[in-house]
Symmetry: D2
Subunit: 387 residues, 4 copies
Amino acid sequence: MAAKKEIRIGLVGTGFMGRTHSNGYNRVPNFFPDLAYTPVLKAVCSRNAEKVQAFADQWGYESIETDWKALIARDDIDAVDICTPNDTHAEIAIAAAEAGKMILCEKPLARSLAEGQKMVDAVNKAGVANTVWYNYRRLPAVTLAKQIVASGKLGRIFHYRANFLQDWTINADVPQGGAGTWRMDVEAAGSGVTGDLLAHCIDTAMWINGGITDVSAVTETFVKERMHAVTGKVQPVGIDDACIFHCHFENGSLGLFESTRYARGHKALYTLEINGENASIRWDLHDLNRLEYFDHSDESVVRGWRSIHVTDGDQPYMDKWWVPGLGIGYEHGFIHQVADFLKSLETGEPCSPTFKDALETQKVCEAVINSAKARSWQDTGVEWTEK
Amino acid sequence: MAAKKEIRIGLVGTGFMGRTHSNGYNRVPNFFPDLAYTPVLKAVCSRNAEKVQAFADQWGYESIETDWKALIARDDIDAVDICTPNDTHAEIAIAAAEAGKMILCEKPLARSLAEGQKMVDAVNKAGVANTVWYNYRRLPAVTLAKQIVASGKLGRIFHYRANFLQDWTINADVPQGGAGTWRMDVEAAGSGVTGDLLAHCIDTAMWINGGITDVSAVTETFVKERMHAVTGKVQPVGIDDACIFHCHFENGSLGLFESTRYARGHKALYTLEINGENASIRWDLHDLNRLEYFDHSDESVVRGWRSIHVTDGDQPYMDKWWVPGLGIGYEHGFIHQVADFLKSLETGEPCSPTFKDALETQKVCEAVINSAKARSWQDTGVEWTEK
Amino acid sequence: MAAKKEIRIGLVGTGFMGRTHSNGYNRVPNFFPDLAYTPVLKAVCSRNAEKVQAFADQWGYESIETDWKALIARDDIDAVDICTPNDTHAEIAIAAAEAGKMILCEKPLARSLAEGQKMVDAVNKAGVANTVWYNYRRLPAVTLAKQIVASGKLGRIFHYRANFLQDWTINADVPQGGAGTWRMDVEAAGSGVTGDLLAHCIDTAMWINGGITDVSAVTETFVKERMHAVTGKVQPVGIDDACIFHCHFENGSLGLFESTRYARGHKALYTLEINGENASIRWDLHDLNRLEYFDHSDESVVRGWRSIHVTDGDQPYMDKWWVPGLGIGYEHGFIHQVADFLKSLETGEPCSPTFKDALETQKVCEAVINSAKARSWQDTGVEWTEK
Amino acid sequence: MAAKKEIRIGLVGTGFMGRTHSNGYNRVPNFFPDLAYTPVLKAVCSRNAEKVQAFADQWGYESIETDWKALIARDDIDAVDICTPNDTHAEIAIAAAEAGKMILCEKPLARSLAEGQKMVDAVNKAGVANTVWYNYRRLPAVTLAKQIVASGKLGRIFHYRANFLQDWTINADVPQGGAGTWRMDVEAAGSGVTGDLLAHCIDTAMWINGGITDVSAVTETFVKERMHAVTGKVQPVGIDDACIFHCHFENGSLGLFESTRYARGHKALYTLEINGENASIRWDLHDLNRLEYFDHSDESVVRGWRSIHVTDGDQPYMDKWWVPGLGIGYEHGFIHQVADFLKSLETGEPCSPTFKDALETQKVCEAVINSAKARSWQDTGVEWTEK
């Protein structure tokens, strides 16, 4: 076996996403042995030295840093992986680009369109490889949905709908800000469910169904004040607890999106459905190995929604795993993204979604927030070019 | 057994709804034997004498008429049941009210708010019993949903969502206008999916969750021209093929509604979901005997959505039917409405939804259509008083 | 319209099945208007005059009897419908045959094979039309399953499995014997779940998959003693509370059957599944309008179980009902059987299952009970000829 | 962090199970960082030097062997993991025990009860830690099922049923014997679905519901001859393609088990259901993160099967993974077993199922095969002691 080329990773952030990304790097050599590149966990960075060392020990990073600028300055780092709260993405990414590092940035790209644009400019100027972790694209059933639509099986698309329903913030005692709950703090997060959850739905939607042109949204903040975990003070809540919008796609189809953290009984129910002239598709994250598919060309008396257990070797990514019927999990989307990123270094193709692609999603998010504030339709300005 | 009081029915219209109503009248004596009133199928009216006679023979009507004015003029008719296309509701209902008849009117109340208002004025002036056939309310699982919410089990409501998805008009060869397809003709129907399907969703929603205050909608007409079945000419399509709107309820919850006849694979998929602070509810028409219920107060490790097969004797209406586990069908909603109408004559209470209640639904429909045209939020003016 | 020929029905028994059959007779004229024959509810018989009169009033019988022999003796009765407990089937049916009446007998045919054989002999000798109410065959989804198998779509059959799970007798306070609970009394019922529930499963199975040749069974009586509702004494329970058997079919496939009244959470869960070389089928009674179908010839990446909502006009019996997506209920199986019985009088073909067909099911039931007692395989002696 | 104690693993076999076990060893340090012991992948053994080296490179083994006796002879191996075909389990395990190695043996323990007894004797004599990879026990939903039953929530148990349905051998061109298809060769496998699939069901069943006392089985071999992949000759097929059995448990409940590789449409559908006096449980492998639970003590009108998404931190093993709603996969059962094995070394408790526990499952398998041959009930002789 030819020696693999090493990509030396420097990870910034040791939270939930730090764990999913680290698992991705660790798993790829076992399951994608044919890649020319292999990740090396060179360093991990977080402010608390003790905690970051424990993280490094657990996940196999060779060294630690407590200042991300020091990490970026190191010569033995090829790629910077940004897993910190949203308010730090731009600064770190721009500095990493200027240092000539490849960048893998957790979604959403940024808190705002303006921040995101600077990030795109920076990677473009630097000419560095870049990607954003919209992980759900790479679950096999979702990738299969993309392939089915791309094949033309659906014909003209009439409807695209997606929602992402959670219930973890109904309790008014959940604080905002701080390590575990920065997503509740508008300063750190930029927005609430729009950037956190709908961004996923929008990314998948445009990947599958093309650009979103205009939106009409409503948002709601059900709990108006929460204690801030850092200051200890009760402060107004700035994020959107719930967001609903309808929209048009470039191809003439209607879109409908909803997200909330107040849907009692739903833990992380990301669902999507696409209705075309000839066929339709449905998927949900709580049963993530399954895709539902309706094909109107089936003989009429035996026509119905097919429940496809996406675990066969001829289905996306599944030749790498077990045998038919044996499902994989949430984490595998990240493993697949690492593999695809490494593959992109071989082929020289971008690893979608790039910063540019993620900026288009940011445009929709910004238009959604603006629409809700203005109580009016907003054009997104999206120019979707990814295929 | 004391002799029952007879309510002599005059039915106008022999289409799909003529059949469901007639079945309702026929079934009630078998399954609700304790009612003080009993329906007598005195006459049925439609323009074609031969066809209406066949209908009368099939369903057991004693006589026929070919002019609804003649039917209304008869002394031996107590109640007029209106099953004709929407453009005739107002004229027939107002005449029937003026003749002092009870009125059972198929939904939607009218083509427009203005028409509906005249109908309400007429029945109020005449002081006649009146009801509108929003049949889905009286499916046992839907009634149970209403009772669960009314019991307070859900606590504060955050979200109400409903959709009604069909696929029968995707084919561009489906005509507009005429006997079987008047729902495609804006002159006859008033609107497309908004009045035909969303009206059901709105009625159920306000019944369960209270008044809708303002709406923001989008509509689409995917097939722009269709042949008119009466004229034979290809004409612009005036109805909405699809409609999406979000809204606020008086209680502060967010609403989301969608209907389309272009959702390939869905025949008549009416679904509703309500998310409250403590519990949630889901239902869909394709598995109509089942209600899903999530109760957050269940012990955490064994907490999950409950699939309730609503077929036990202690569940709404089910003491009238079979034994646990044995489901009933779509038509039973109409049977239950006949029973409840007859019961209302005993108690002197209105049989909801009355014309007044249905007018509130009409207000929402009108605001929805206006919002889509104006691309702006519209207040509904709803004053929901039914409990 | 030509005058219909009347079939004057005499019903014996006013319990649960008396209601389902009566409903069947009442509905057929509304939904099957083209039949040449029409049922006339001439008389109903039960021992309590007051109760039987109330039943007659409710369901529209013209007269009552309190002695079934008197009913059979009447000249104005063409067909006797037997809805009484199992221990009376043979005596009534034989007398009715001797009187030259057509017979519609509730299932199971009899308490034992010996009783059943006498009944078959009697109707054969008399040459009267006869049928047994194995109602589940005529639910549209089950009939569709039969048609799919008959079409050859499944290819060679490997497996047939069915179960019928209930939970209503777990409580030890449920009595045996008497009006509502004669099914718990071995004298009245002949057996427990075997004759009550598995008989349905066996009838459907042989109708779809051919004769069962030999069986190996186990039965269990979980509650050993129960009070007898008539005597008031606690007595040993003679019925099987649960029964499991595996078997061979003539076509070489393996069968697996289970029934119990101790499956907590299942009200009346009759499920069946057939696995063939090329395709498979599943169905369950709790969602009775749906059939699941897997076709291995579908393109592999989009292959999956199809959930068929059997409510389209081209599916069995559904041209008589509503529109696609709108389901029917349990009771409709009986309506369809009435319609098919009347149709059989037109065509001169037997209305399956006839007494002869039901006797084959009785043979399997008897072999099952014998197998459980003897703890050994038993040949059934089935000669299945119905197609 | 205190240095962990190393357990140096020697893996024998590089097939499907070699991969799942290797993944288990690799993942445990990332997800179970608090264990006192840590696995070290010291050596892997298989006959083909080139292939085993590639496997070692992929999975991170430090060295290779091509003779399992050489592996066992090494001083730097603490534990031998046996992943080879069933016909080699006994010889390798006995030799490993005699060499004083801990043993982790893939299921089933052996081809026969006699072989298995020798293995148990060997580990008992040697006093070495031992465990058998019945991996499905340690999927969180299955472990939760065990805990629910152990809590007494179900009360008296009436029924236990399980099946394991596949369809991969329907094609008569699938060979028997050789690397990928040794499971089709009775010499290598000992039996067909009984040892391969039902052994899993039996292990789980006795773990949850106690010992199985007697069985009555039927087996079938649908394709009578297949080419042998090694000899190239068409030979009789000695395995059972399908097996059904019913049984009694010590606690008086009835058991029903079925497995086949001829259930078209089912890839690896392991399902189990337990019915108790007060509650019931269901689970299936195709949606492995979900457990269904019915609790009769719920308020009657809102009582139904609960669909529990077993992904919360208070559910078994799930504190180690992601956040609520985000599922894990098939492979995680093996990761959990590695973790539990390492934990057992800390506590000194056996890691169930031990060889002794697995021998009890072997007894049932042997009784099943004997019962099918003899067409009679067979006692199992099981003495279930694991709690």
